[in-house]
Symmetry: C2
Subunit: 281 residues, 2 copies
Amino acid sequence: MGFGNVSERRSAPPQVGVSVVILALGPRGADDTGTASNAAHSQLWMPLVKRVRQPFMGSWALPGGHLRADRSLEQSAFEALESTTALHPRYLEQLYTFGDPNRSHGGLPMVSIVYWALVEQSEAVDFEDGDNVRWFPEHDLPQLAFDHRAIIDYALERLRSKIEYSDVATRLLGPTFTLRQLHDVYEAIAGQSIDLANFRRKMLASGDLEDTGEKRREGRQRPAAVYRYVPKEQVNDTVQRAGIPGSPSSYAGDHAVASLDPRHNAAHDDALAPLTPSAQR
Amino acid sequence: MGFGNVSERRSAPPQVGVSVVILALGPRGADDTGTASNAAHSQLWMPLVKRVRQPFMGSWALPGGHLRADRSLEQSAFEALESTTALHPRYLEQLYTFGDPNRSHGGLPMVSIVYWALVEQSEAVDFEDGDNVRWFPEHDLPQLAFDHRAIIDYALERLRSKIEYSDVATRLLGPTFTLRQLHDVYEAIAGQSIDLANFRRKMLASGDLEDTGEKRREGRQRPAAVYRYVPKEQVNDTVQRAGIPGSPSSYAGDHAVASLDPRHNAAHDDALAPLTPSAQR
DNA sequence: GCAAAAGTGTTCACGATACACCCATGG
DNA sequence: CCATGGGTGTATCGTGAACACTTTTGC
């Protein structure tokens, strides 16, 4: 597969791959090394893989894989995620496509279609490290290969903005949760304290939380009510378009995946596609 | 360039290209055909090109082009835009990457990295149609090739959400404008009437509009003050990352390109990259 | 001076914030 | 019975929507 000469190689299309930023809520108050990060809140953690070839051999990098012509981008992202980390995301959304010619710093030009995923805490609860995959807390990342550091920052930005108008926060928890747990997620993502009383009211007022009737005791005092996320009426025309962002869908069985409107890019926005699509918002 | 057999072709990577959704503000009240669309506001128009090969030969489609390993994605999008329509965008941002295996409906699997662009009204003021390129109003689009209709809808969604927290609206006008002109843009994009008094106050309160001192007469009555968009203080660390969304930059000379935070997608968000980057928000 | 558009003022409803408070539970 | 966290009440503030109003211009 050799190219003829330099100019042919220049006008040739670049290589294309998929990468995934995977995020999970870290253990309560765990700060790993005693870094200066505020130990009050939980932190977001993510798995990274060690590169075994040049360039950036030995550096940590985002899990990734190849594209296949018979798979949707999302499926490719899902497979890359699953094969490298064996995790099952509760949320998966395209983040951005990176293709700057010099992002590979000496390697061949590479276009990366990047997705971001959320997995629930219990999936990674032990934050077990394999041979070539290891979990790192958001505030204590190692040196990263390529432009992966910037990509992660962008994913975190997206998460932070998206938490305000979608249900992404619930995807870091299990299918049911207490208001305090949800509150913790919001604080972890925002990185600052949020008034619990007002938070509670706002969440309940949204109408998207359904009381399961169940009670759960987190600490050693009074048990809290357990809720489930149930998006309100899906006022939506049935215009369904495969692989089109803004069309959310179910995933891996019963895990609904949020959509969003592309504010800011909103903008930007989409959701899982593989299974039964069902619109929202 | 033939592949060996079916299974090889399946696991092979798909073809990759760039496409661009180009939007401009249509002439005042022009409705082309007397369709049922509310003739009160202006409308958004976009140029499409006629396909000259299968699949979808003869259908209208988004302007597009190839990727080159020695160009950034944005540059490739810019070149595709320029070579097919000869337009100079005042805004260019990555929209989304589409790669569903059956979006080509019989053609080879194709991944499209789609950008969206805004050009100012005067650039396309005559909405002149070339041989194979023609302008269409948002509410009177022809049958489109591939999934391009859905892509356009998504671009419009993005524009509509992004207008609320960025300066995209001004990119549909020239460098200076009256509040009424800006108001018209907002109404065209929103598709509904907006209280002019409140709109005026809100815009001025944002602090991003600077009175040029100039006066301009649109109709035949009292001339209006002319403003220029001047983003407030750029409170931003100098962390600059090439090709990373959220980092806006200048373009084609003096045309600054807006950034955004990725709400909704924000999605979703980035801006021009080629020239001197300078952050915002 | 009249029509049309530019530009200002005033009111109201609602949502977000701050913070005081009561209730349920386990030890 | 008391400490801890669950859960509620309430006053205040700022923003956006509605709409009445004044001012400036051209004919």
